[in-house]
């Protein structure tokens, strides 16, 4: 079968006369027509608002990061794990109340206007701080942005704000959009939120809803010689089987974010011309977490929570559900964040006998039917793996006498049930670790969060000790002291188990061999792809 394929493909590429035939794969078309080539990528969702300055989510970045750039991007080798983009350097003051950015010179917006510090000030004050989902937190104390000249922006904070946090947050929260386009209009309703205007290597050219997004080469890009590609096309493929099939049929060349299901990877990796890459998601770690409703009397008992942790075979979860493309978690900070990660926290080995003993100790003896009590378990529907872990957890809990009833709901209903109505006992969620615990991790266990905030502590857990550590870290400017506080934070969480961290995973990219310079930074899928090329 494969040999037949190869010979057919060779024939097609060789036969110039065939170039006009409609039977020719699109891919061959593109290569014949242009030098840099057209990269076609699978996209599984169509964000309604594509503006990364407002919506800091991976779904948006996947497309928008090629058009709109941030001040800095994550890097494997750069200082502080960053490589400069629109900012060339950054420096914090000793009191933690100001950060000075030096900006790149000679950068132009896609509409030809020059990029200046005024754009940065506008983005920070009018968008990141008031409108952006993550920026509201990071820039909560931002008072003003001073612009002494066109290439300097000085961020002024009302309270000490750790430079470590700002630095770690830069790749996620600092997308700069043009002031002259947004000023004086309703920013949330601006047409430029879909038809993006940025400084990036690609210009936003076309969007056909339900079909594709098309980005084309920005000839005036500040980094001469880049981008290498002529076009990047995001083709909408809603069905999970679609990306793998389209890759094999050479209709697309890249599927990121595990668009090819894990279960299909071992097979597709054997298809000639296709490579499976697990690198490039180090700064986009997703965590498999059991959220616990502490309002349930049984779950308010730490022994019960420890029993649940002991009942879970993390090795099974990693090997069977994630097929090895994940790591077992020890606590709320993933191993991929070595700056903060603390391996010395208490751990819970898979031990059914111990789990049973703990539950007996807590006073929940097995009834005549072998059951201790019943729970409502809600797995988040966003990933295959969260749902499968739900199936597994139900079985694992029944082995220790806890009868868990799974509740399946679509995304909106799940979100309402767990984060607003608290109609759950256990929930399975996939929060994201975004480079710094203060961005989206502490919120998972901190008390006093209003109802309705997704991916936050809605289980009613409250610990003064933990809250104090979180509050102190938020205003600690010294990097070492701050890091230390987050190590304490990890110990507290792993000891008291306000939630149970089970596993952490990055995504998988599958690409044709022709795609070069894939996964060369820790946020590759959501970076700007300016050096990515196609070889023929």
């Amino acid at each position: 079968m494969t040999i037949a394929h190869l010979s057919r493909r060779t024939l097609l590429q060789a036969g110039a006369a065939l170039a006009a035939s409609t039977a020719l794969p699109t891919f061959a078309h593109a290569q014949a027509a242009t030098a840099g080539g057209r990269l076609i990528v699978a996209a599984d969702s169509e964000p309604k608002n594509l503006n990364p300055a407002i919506v800091a989510s991976n779904g948006v970045f996947f497309i928008a990061s090629k058009v709109v750039e941030t001040l800095a991007e994550a890097s494997f080798s750069g200082k502080d794990g960053l490589s400069p983009r629109l900012a060339t350097s950054w420096e914090g003051s000793a009191d933690g109340k100001s950060v000075t950015f030096k900006l790149r010179e000679g950068v132009k917006w896609h509409d030809g206007k020059p990029f200046t510090s005024a754009d940065v000030a506008f983005s920070a004050l009018k968008i990141w701080k008031p409108l952006q989902n993550l920026g509201r937190l990071v820039f909560a104390n931002l008072e003003d942005v001073e612009t002494p000249d066109d290439t300097t922006a000085i961020f002024k904070f009302s309270k000490p704000t750790p430079l470590q946090l700002i630095r770690n947050a830069l790749p996620v929260v600092s997308s700069v959009v043009p002031k002259h386009v947004y000023e004086g209009s309703d920013i949330n309703a601006s047409p430029a939120n879909v038809k993006l205007i940025g400084t990036g290597p690609f210009k936003f050219t076309e969007y056909k809803p339900g079909e594709y997004y098309r980005l084309t080469r920005n000839a005036d890009y500040w980094n001469k010689g880049e981008p290498k590609l002529d076009e990047v096309i995001f083709r909408v493929l809603p069905d999970r089987a679609g990306a793998g099939a389209a890759l094999e049929a050479e209709e697309i060349q890249l599927a990121a974010f595990s668009a090819v299901p894990l279960t299909d990877l071992s097979r597709i990796s054997k298809v000639p011309g296709i490579k499976v890459i697990s690198k490039g998601y180090e700064a986009l770690t997703y965590q498999l977490v059991i959220e616990i409703n502490h309002r349930r009397k049984e779950l308010a008992d730490v022994k019960v929570r420890q029993a649940i942790a002991h009942a879970i075979d993390k090795k099974f979860v990693v090997d069977t559900i994630f097929l090895g493309y994940a790591a077992a978690s020890t606590g709320p900070v993933p191993k991929n964040a070595p700056e903060f990660y603390d391996p010395t926290v208490p751990t819970y080995a898979f031990d059914v006998a111990k789990a049973n003993a703990l539950l007996d100790e807590a006073g929940y003896k097995k009834g005549a039917d072998g059951k201790r009590f019943a729970l409502k378990l809600r797995p988040a529907p966003y990933f295959n793996e969260t749902k499968q872990f739900g199936d597994y957890l139900r079985q694992a809990l029944s082995a220790v006498g806890i009868d868990a009833q799974l509740v399946n709901a679509d995304a909106a209903a799940h979100q309402k049930a767990v984060y607003t109505d608290h109609d759950f006992d256990l929930a399975i969620g996939p929060p994201v670790f975004r480079g710094d615990p203060a961005i989206s991790t502490t919120i998972l266990v901190q008390s006093g969060i209003p109802d309705g905030v997704p991916f936050s502590n809605q289980g009613g857990y409250a610990s003064k000790e933990l809250d104090d550590v979180i509050a102190k870290a938020a205003v600690t400017v010294d990097t070492a002291a701050r890091t230390d506080l987050y190590k304490q934070f990890q110990k507290l969480v792993a000891t008291d188990l306000p939630l149970i961290n089970v596993a952490e995973w990055g995504f998988i990219s599958v690409a044709r061999d022709t795609v070069v310079n894939v996964s060369n930074n820790p946020r590759w899928a959501v970076s700007n792809w300016s050096d990515t090329t196609l070889k023929s």
Binding site: K48, G59, A412
Partner: protein
């Protein structure tokens, strides 16, 4: 009638857990309570249910289907953008399945209880019982991935710049698999109805009379039996049109066709009430139109509409 449909849809979404804001916040990976409140305000979700229903009716009276919350665009635009793809898909699938189904039904019904009849019946039964998504996936693997005769998905080659006939040919190639999948499944239904109709028609007086006159079998089959059996088939076409629109949801999702069914699915998951109501209103209008056409065809086919009503 449409009014009932709209109110029912509205109540259904009203009772839903989670609203458009929940769905949106999720898609952006979180937000806080202030964002949620201001969004609800701007979507008008903070108003009472009756106020919103009233607002919807008054704008509907002006043929305004409202504003899609999830897409941030007028509902009518969205629907008009997707409708042609679905019409093309359903139209071709219906035509193909109707044509093939009635032809094979004639072949089967020409000699009821023959081997040919039994084989065709069995095949059509199996086709009918296969879930459409499964058939679609298998066909796509065989013809698009392994044989590479056809594209795996999409409505046309993306950004191909093709125009006119070349574009039409391109779209046709993309539609072969989804149309084929749908047609195979609906064909099963048409074969069975046609065959049953034929079997019944053989018993009718004028067919018996024609046979006694010694007319050739082929002539009887085509002129008398088949023609009569076609009538319930046409009726069925009208009845099935609503089911077909529903069936397109799954097929459009597998073959990544930006159509009506997928839009409906997105409307539901985005809790986009105006969009879903718009979709249901338009599909209801569509079904009514199809049935009008069916009635016309019926009259044209059967000069004795009154006489045949007893059978229906």
């Amino acid at each position: 009638m449409l009014l009932i449909v709209i109110i029912l849809t509205f109540l259904l979404l009203e009772s839903a857990s989670g609203d458009a804001v929940d769905a949106y916040l999720l898609s952006i990976g979180g937000g806080d309570a202030i964002v949620a409140k201001s969004l609800r305000q701007s979507y008008g979700l903070d108003q009472s249910m009756l106020a919103r229903l009233w607002l919807y009716f008054t704008s509907l009276a002006k043929l305004d289907l409202g504003w899609s919350v999830a897409f941030g665009r007028p509902v009518l635009d969205l629907i008009l953008e997707r409708l042609p793809n679905t019409l093309l898909l359903m139209g071709s699938a219906t035509a193909l399945s109707f044509g093939l189904g009635s032809a094979l039904g004639i072949v089967a019904g020409a000699k009821p209880e023959s081997i040919r009849d039994r084989t065709l019946s069995a095949v059509s039964l199996i086709l009918y019982a296969i879930p459409s998504f499964w058939l679609g996936l298998v066909l796509s693997i065989v013809f698009a991935v392994q044989l590479r005769w056809l594209p795996t998905s999409g409505i046309e080659t993306i950004a191909s710049g093709k125009v006119g006939l070349a574009r039409a040919a391109d779209i046709a190639r993309h539609l072969v698999l989804p149309v084929g999948t749908l047609a195979l499944i609906y064909m099963a239904l048409f074969i069975r109805v046609m065959r049953a109709g034929m079997a019944e028609a053989w018993q009718l007086d004028f067919v018996l009379f024609a046979r006694s006159k010694g007319l050739s079998r082929t002539r009887i089959v085509l002129r008398h039996v088949a023609r009569n059996a076609l009538l319930p088939l046409v009726t069925m076409l009208g009845l099935q049109s609503a089911a077909m629109i529903g069936g397109s949801v799954v097929i459009e999702s597998i073959f990544a066709i930006p159509g009506f069914g997928r839009l409906a699915q997105e409307a539901v998951s985005g809790r986009d009430a105006p969009l879903l109501m718009g979709i249901i209103v338009v599909s209801a209008v569509l079904v009514i139109c199809v049935n009008l056409v069916v009635d016309l065809v019926y009259t044209a086919l059967d000069p004795r509409v009154g006489a045949s009503e007893n059978r229906a």
